[in-house]
């Protein structure tokens, strides 16, 4: 067990991601943030809260997306479906997908499919807290990442929100 990010590092990393996103998207009218259910929700909430603090006079658009029905392994393993709540159109918008750990890339593949059902975004970017390089099964890379790490397929990366740590098992 190794701690990848401790409490303070985690807070700083999230703050940095928020600043990077804000730096690249000064006009908040065209940008929407979407957290991926279930584990991308806590991190996306924190990132969006930090961005909101940088722009106190504007409302940051934020939704959550569940990709269960778009998975490529629907028939081999049952995953419990979670709530999707996207209370705005993504037509013509810049969408930033936010998740906790990028691993095989299959979740993001499914999320890109799911997103199409809410309109045609102008651009989609990916922001993750932890990028597990060298484990990708699809050609998907993050535009923003908190920390890139090299792991074995047999290892697990978990964000422990109660302890506010990212741990490699």
């Amino acid at each position: 067990m190794t701690i990848i990010l401790d409490k303070q590092q985690l807070q700083l990393t999230i703050l940095r991601l928020a600043h990077q996103l804000a730096e690249n998207h000064v006009d908040l009218n065209d940008i929407v943030f979407i957290g991926l259910q279930p584990r991308g929700v806590p991190v996306s909430k924190l990132v969006v809260e930090n961005i909101q603090q940088l722009f106190p006079n504007e409302k940051v658009k934020y939704g959550v997306l569940d990709i269960t029905f778009y998975r490529d392994d629907v028939r081999s393993e049952l995953h419990k479906a979670n709530t999707t709540d996207i209370p705005f159109s993504v037509e013509g918008k810049h969408v930033v997908l936010i998740d906790d750990v990028l691993y095989t890339g299959r979740t993001i593949r499914a999320a890109l499919d799911a997103l199409q059902d809410f309109g045609r975004p102008k651009k989609v970017e990916l922001c993750v807290l932890v990028d597990r390089r060298f484990n990708r099964e699809l050609p998907i890379q993050p535009d923003y990442f908190g920390k890139a790490i090299d792991t074995l397929g047999s290892q697990k990366v978990k964000v422990e929100w109660d302890k506010e740590e990212v741990i490699l098992y």
């Binding site: 029905f69 629907v74 419990k80 479906a81 059902d117």
Partner: protein
């Protein structure tokens, strides 16, 4: 985590966890149905046959829509106009269809137990869409979903089923489901339409006075008088039935609370329920139909996910 059963033959075979899983999955599908594109690719590789040996409007359209919105391929079969009239047996018909690589069978039949018979003889997953006077599980699930949506929970709620309990598969499935989920259940109607030992057999309250039943309940699920299944005279006339057991505006206005009115359809207006009640704000009859698609998507999705 998955359903405990390979088929959905009846609510009788389900455990409470199955019911909760179906209802929670259905609420996610309900959100899918509000999207600009009301379709998900989950069952792209699944072919489903809708086998209807008995008439149906709602259930059939609802299943077909549910299948299409899950991206499944569908085939529709109706007994009339098929080789059934040439003497082909149920099992032969189904085996012929299955030999064309069909994965699931949605089936309605006038004989109670027909889907249970099929389940013993064929490898495909079977969804009972109503068998004789036995069960109509997806109707009970969508009824439960609609009650939960309206009242927040099923636990502790008082639900009365009114009318032709004897011939109603909706009643039996509802009783099983509501009891499993901790609701209190009463059946009300004329003694000739209520099975004699139902209170001992299924642990439900029995009431022959409609007004008392309505005073007791939070939700009244009004059932259709199934004239096509009655082969003897069980009440003297539809008009008399309406006078004694028809749910009227006047009766509802006389209660000290606003109860929820449900009906599985098709409605016989002016018989078991008056038009102004069926169309009132208290009635969630059309919401039931709307929820039917999401609930059936959940059932098909969960059974297909269990398939491999």
């Amino acid at each position: 985590m998955q359903l405990s059963t390979k088929h959905l033959l009846g609510i009788k075979d389900l455990v409470p966890e199955d019911i909760s899983l179906i209802l929670s999955t259905a609420s996610q599908f309900k959100e899918v149905l509000q999207r600009p594109v009301k379709k998900v690719p989950s069952l792209r590789d699944v072919t489903i046959v809708n086998l209807f040996y008995e008439n149906s409007t709602r259930t059939r359209i609802s299943f077909e829509l549910a299948e299409k919105r899950l991206s499944a391929d569908t085939i529709n079969f109706t007994a009339s106009g098929s080789s059934v009239s040439k003497g082909e047996t149920l099992l032969d018909t189904v085996n012929n269809i299955l030999s064309m690589k069909v994965d699931m069978v949605v089936m309605r039949h006038s004989a109670s137990g027909a889907p249970h018979f099929l389940a013993k003889h064929i490898p495909a997953a079977i969804v009972n869409a109503g068998d004789g006077i036995n069960e109509h599980p997806t109707q009970a699930l969508l009824d439960a979903f609609s009650i939960k949506e309206k009242l927040g929970t099923l636990e502790g709620k008082k639900i009365v089923l009114i009318g032709d309990i004897m011939h109603s598969r909706v009643a039996l499935s509802n009783i099983y489901l509501l009891k499993k989920m901790g609701a209190e259940v009463m059946v009300a109607g004329p003694p000739t339409l209520i099975p004699k030992y139902i209170s001992e057999a299924l642990n439900v309250k029995v009431e022959y006075n409609l007004k008392k039943a309505l005073e007791w309940c939070d939700v009244a699920n009004v059932l259709r008088i199934q004239l096509e299944r009655q082969n003897q005279v069980l009440f003297s006339s539809l008009r008399e039935y309406n006078l004694a057991y028809g749910v009227s505006k006047k009766l509802l206005d006389g209660l000290d609370k606003e109860i929820v009115i449900m009906h599985p359809g098709p409605i016989n207006r002016g018989v078991e329920i008056d038009s102004d009640v069926a169309d009132s704000n208290q009635s969630i009859i059309l919401q039931q139909v709307e929820n039917g698609v999401a609930v059936r998507m959940a059932v098909l999705y969960l059974l297909a996910a269990r398939g491999n």
